[in-house]
Symmetry: C2
Subunit: 304 residues, 2 copies
């Protein structure tokens, strides 16, 4: 069974790990690149790294980077007059040096990502949503537009936002294999990532929303538990953009795209309230920080 999953960072990566644990699933991941940036001159792709590190079972507990990484470079860098709010562990830095060196030598981000997945022993086909630069930017009422990393890492996503845009998305093409992976899948899953910040940048790329429209079956997984995300600002972002609270907000964010939406059992009460939607709603246990729970959820999704 061919499954293609759209993914941001932590939540989406955990669902990917669950899906990758099912023998019957041939899995492709289409990963957000709107969080990509240039930090200290290095091309960082935080969501691709989180997906690959999680699939390799080496992800850091803090929501980025690698488990048990050392910190020699950042400790030295702190002595210089430079903001070092973007932390990169030593082994994680090697990933970013490889990516930067190869992009500068003419490789595409897809080629870099395929090589990176191989180095980490990851079998899943990990596809950047695009090889072209797309930058998610958020608007703060008092400050104007900020880059995603400034908002998310430096400000720790504590500041309310009232708009979001995907700079460059209009000119970006889907990476090779992305459209085929969506059209050819028996099921497309939109992972439990932040809809406006992690999934909309993927959908902003010319042709991807259309391909989803032609997909056999599109199943969303809500990132909310009792109306709130486990971490990250999904509820605040939905609110700031004027979307409804809770499950209704997720349905609005994915308006016209979903055949089914899976919510956590804690949000089962929302199912009745959202009875007006065409989308089929299901409640399943969606807390998947533990790999076993992720595999269990993946098995239930595949069995739907």
């Amino acid at each position: 069974m061919k499954v293609t999953a759209l993914s941001g960072g932590v939540g989406g990566a955990r669902l990917l790990r669950g899906l990758a644990g099912l023998d019957e699933v041939e899995l492709s991941a289409v990963v957000n690149v709107g969080d990509d940036d240039i930090i200290y001159g290095l091309n960082v792709s935080p969501d691709i790294d989180t997906v690959i590190y999680t699939l390799a079972e080496r992800e850091g507990s803090q929501g980025w980077g690698l488990a048990d990484d050392t910190d020699e470079v950042m400790e030295a860098l702190e002595k210089f007059p430079l903001d070092t709010w973007f932390r990169i562990g030593d082994v994680d830095l090697a990933t970013n040096l490889f990516r930067t060196a190869r992009l500068r030598s003419g490789w595409t981000l897809s080629q870099v990502t395929t090589a990176q997945a191989a180095v980490f022993g990851v079998q899943t086909s990990v596809l950047p949503a695009s090889d072209d630069p797309i930058r998610t930017e958020v608007h703060l009422p008092d400050e104007g537009w900020l880059s995603f990393q400034t908002y998310f890492v430096d400000r720790m996503h504590q500041t309310p936002i009232d708009d979001v845009r995907f700079s460059g998305g209009w000119a970006a093409s889907p990476a090779p294999g992305v459209i085929e992976a969506i059209r050819g899948a028996d099921m497309v899953v939109i992972g439990p990532s932040n809809p406006p910040l992690s999934i909309w940048p993927i959908l902003s790329i010319d042709g991807i929303a259309d391909a989803l429209g032609g997909a056999k079956r599109v199943v969303g997984v809500s990132p909310l538990f009792g109306g709130r995300p486990l971490k990250g600002p999904a509820d605040q972002v939905l609110k700031g953009l004027g979307l409804p609270d809770g499950t209704a907000g997720i349905l609005a964010a994915y308006d016209g795209l979903l055949d089914e939406l899976v919510v956590d059992t804690a949000d089962m009460a929302d199912l009745a309230a959202d009875a007006t939607t065409d989308v089929e709603l299901r409640a399943l246990p969606t807390r998947i920080s533990e790999p076993e729970a992720a595999v269990a959820l993946a098995a239930q999704l595949v069995a739907l």
Copy 2:
């Protein structure tokens, strides 16, 4: 006494350490930037780093980088499909990340270098020869032009060369303070660096050779010992460029620039043979790998 020294990497840096050890000397270093390159996307300035690390008494024994540095990043990077012949230790990498980040934020290389020297507790005024990019390239009879780092590090300078050029030098200006440091010095020293590869790139910058012509006194220090350098390809490069062997080659490389040339006591025999030159020749012990020897040589230079 104001002393300004032109310097490449190891040999020049050691003489700088000696000069910096003299209380009566107010020292400025004008450092070669022709070895600068972009490696793994990072702006590397090997000679500036060697000068600052040596002045801080933290230089690596291998001729680059820092003593007792760790190697977490490079060990991880080796797992990727990428040539990793350019090694950068972890703490050295922080220097390069700082430089890259600040250059990208609009700082000049001079500003970066001043901040870097302060972080390493270096009092000497360390000036890049230019804030503009200059790239030393060497010509191989069979292969054409190679970047300096490819020739020097990847090929380990084992390949004969027959020409050298300084790409961008024609468009480069001296960094702020360089001309003043040369004109205002009581003595300008050209350190025991490779003349064509480390000093010519400095001299290729518009105005620097002229400033030397107007300097009070210019003293060269030969990098040769019995006609050969301690390390590096200085003798081979002089030969490949058609210059004479030994002291005569150094004199030819600095034709018209020097008031005096200091050679090692091992090359004292050359003094008679080169009696046709206008340059005043002196023999002194110039083996300065040990800091005490460097201070002793510096004291003799200053007393000349």
